[in-house]
């Protein structure tokens, strides 16, 4: 992937009373190869809705979503998606979950070494044959991440993958994501409502506002890697983003 383009996108949905509401309004976003975009905004501002349009799970009422000039109208293995609640298949072991996409696309001769590599990388060794309900939330999210990343997608969409985790586990998974991003150079778009997380990971921060969901501002992240959550620059940039979120 060279370029993802979201142009003048509106998403109109029916609310519970049958009224039309603009969940997303006039969204414009360009993402280049190798970027890490953090989308931040309060709950209900349309972050998931936007991510679903980019993946192709939904299509917009107005505007276009394109990758390298091709309109996205259905999901594809080239765009990985890690769901908010992981959604590992509960009936498959951790290992089978991670290899499920490879099996689906390559049949029986999939790359088993690659699966083992990611099991090792994600700290899941010893849990290959466990079922999802038998492992911790952090492990389940790392497994869900591995399941998508093992397919070597051009674009990885992450919908609050750390949302349900405690602070320690969250920092742990954030580091895993960052390491994978640096090593594989996969373009990533992360949705979050955690400012620290957005700043720690993103090369650009997309700030969204609710009702209707709009992009308020897109801010370049000036911080160099490796980033420290407690450095002065980090805290200063954090205040800057915090101000943009207070409306």
């Amino acid at each position: 992937m060279v370029q993802l383009a979201v142009e003048n996108v509106d998403r109109v949905l029916d609310d519970n009373n049958g009224q039309k509401i603009n969940v997303l309004e006039d969204i414009n976003l360009n993402v280049g190869s190798g970027e890490f975009i953090s989308i931040i905004g309060p709950s209900g501002c349309g972050k998931t809705t936007l991510l679903r349009l980019i993946s192709g799970l939904d299509t917009p009422e107005k505007g276009r979503v394109e990758v390298d000039g091709n309109v996205i109208d259905q999901p594809d293995v080239s765009r990985g998606y890690v769901f908010q609640h992981g959604s590992l298949f509960p009936w498959e072991t951790i290992k089978d979950n991670i290899s499920s996409g490879l099996k689906a696309t390559n049949g029986r001769n999939y790359d088993k070494k690659l699966v083992d590599h990611y099991i090792e990388l994600m700290g899941l060794k010893g849990f290959e044959n466990a079922y999802p309900h038998q492992v911790s939330g952090g492990m389940a999210q790392r497994a869900a991440l591995a399941r998508s990343i093992v397919l070597n997608p051009e674009l990885l969409l992450l919908d609050e993958p750390m949302g349900a985790l405690d602070a320690f586990t969250r920092a742990d998974v954030q580091d895993v994501i960052q390491r994978v991003w640096k090593q594989t150079k996969t373009t990533m778009i992360l949705v979050t409502h955690d400012i620290d997380e957005a700043i720690y990971l993103g090369t650009r921060i997309v700030v969204m506002t609710p009702r209707p969901g709009r992009i308020k501002e897109i801010v370049d992240n000036p911080l160099e890697f490796p980033r420290k959550r407690t450095s002065d620059e980090f805290l200063q940039f954090r205040r800057q983003i915090q101000d943009k979120l207070n409306f």
Binding site: S55, L57, W91, S148
Partner: protein, 339 residues
């Protein structure tokens, strides 16, 4: 290659299984109860031996049965006393139940063959039933095989049809729209209703019986399967799509396993109905099988034979039930245990 996460979870603690036998066999091991249960069998033996019978009964088989039962319990109890773990839990848990069985054996023997308190010949002693089973063993064995074969073929056919229809109706709206209303109206009719027609429509009574039993099975299975498919979270379908699953892979890897818990509920409901239909159709149409045996015994007025067949059915159906239960436990091993 990337270096691994600094995860400190080296030991899969959550994988250490909490002993299921501990929750299954919860009654504490008490030597007292083990001895009491053995004693009740001794009493049953002596009672049968010493109390004079009102009628002529060959008690040899019954006494051998008691001896075998006594020997089995002794082995289990001795093993439980020596070996710890599962054997001990098992041996302790069932001691009280075994004692109750011993007492019931004494009571039924006294009521029937010893004092004839309850009406003969409609009630017979367990000793008579066992003796009958021994005399009739060849015919009973053949009947059992025949019933088992008929049931198995019909149940498998009915289950496959039920699952297939259920999966398609649950997954595809168009198919559901056209098929469901018709199938619902047909499926709600009790299978036995078709008996008069199947007798004349099918070329052989065996085919008619297969149809009737399979008919009692497919509907509950199909109905539960539809619900199972529709209860699968949308997330799994969407994950599957972003992972590159084709439609047939979605059916195999998402729809079937996701609906499986409900499919099993349907299968267990259908199992009871299929046993009913098996016996009814054998009683009416067949020349073989346990249902036919009962009907024939009733005709000649030998109620001991009726009981013999009932005892065999109880054993046969219990074994089928346990096997299906084991199969379910295995197939749904991915589910979180609730206890």
């Amino acid at each position: 290659m990337l270096e691994s996460v600094t995860a400190s979870h080296k030991v899969p603690t959550k994988l250490v299984k909490k002993s299921t036998s501990q929750t299954k066999y919860w009654k504490p091991y008490q030597t007292r109860w083990n001895l009491i249960s053995l004693l009740t069998l001794v009493v049953a033996f002596l009672e049968n031996l010493l109390v004079p019978a009102q009628e002529l009964v060959n008690n040899v088989t019954y006494r051998w049965f008691l001896v075998a039962y006594f020997a089995y319990l002794t082995i289990v109890y001795v093993a439980g006393a020596v070996v710890h773990g599962k054997v001990r839990l098992y041996s302790g848990h069932f001691a009280q139940l075994n004692a109750s069985i011993g007492i019931l054996l004494v009571i039924q023997d006294l009521l029937t063959e010893k004092y004839a308190n309850i009406q003969q010949p409609f009630f017979v002693s367990f000793a008579q039933i066992l003796d009958q089973m021994k005399t009739d063993h060849a015919l009973l064995l053949a009947s059992t095989w025949s019933s088992l074969g008929l049931w198995l073929v019909s149940f498998v056919i009915g289950t496959i049809i039920g699952i297939a229809l259920g999966l398609f109706m649950g997954r595809y709206r168009q198919f559901n729209y056209w098929a469901f209303p018709y199938l619902k109206v047909i499926g709600i009719i009790p299978a036995a209703t078709w008996m008069p027609l199947t007798m004349v429509i099918f070329p052989t009574s065996y085919l008619a019986e297969i149809f009737l039993i399979a008919f009692s099975v497919w509907f509950p299975v199909a109905f539960m399967t539809i619900g199972g498919v529709q209860s699968i979270s949308k997330d799994y379908f969407e994950s599957a799509k972003t992972l590159g699953f084709s439609e047939s892979q979605i059916l195999k890897k998402v729809v079937i396993p996701g609906a499986l818990p409900n499919i099993f509920i349907g299968i267990f409901t259908a199992m009871g109905l299929s046993f009913t239909m098996l016996v009814i159709s054998e009683m009416i149409g067949a020349k073989v099988g346990l249902g036919w045996y009962i009907n024939w015994a009733k005709g000649v007025g030998n109620y001991t034979q009726v009981y013999a067949a009932i005892v065999i059915m109880a054993i046969l159906f219990s074994v089928i039930f346990s096997l299906l239960n084991k199969f379910q436990e295995y197939a749904l091993r991915w589910r979180e245990k609730t206890n």
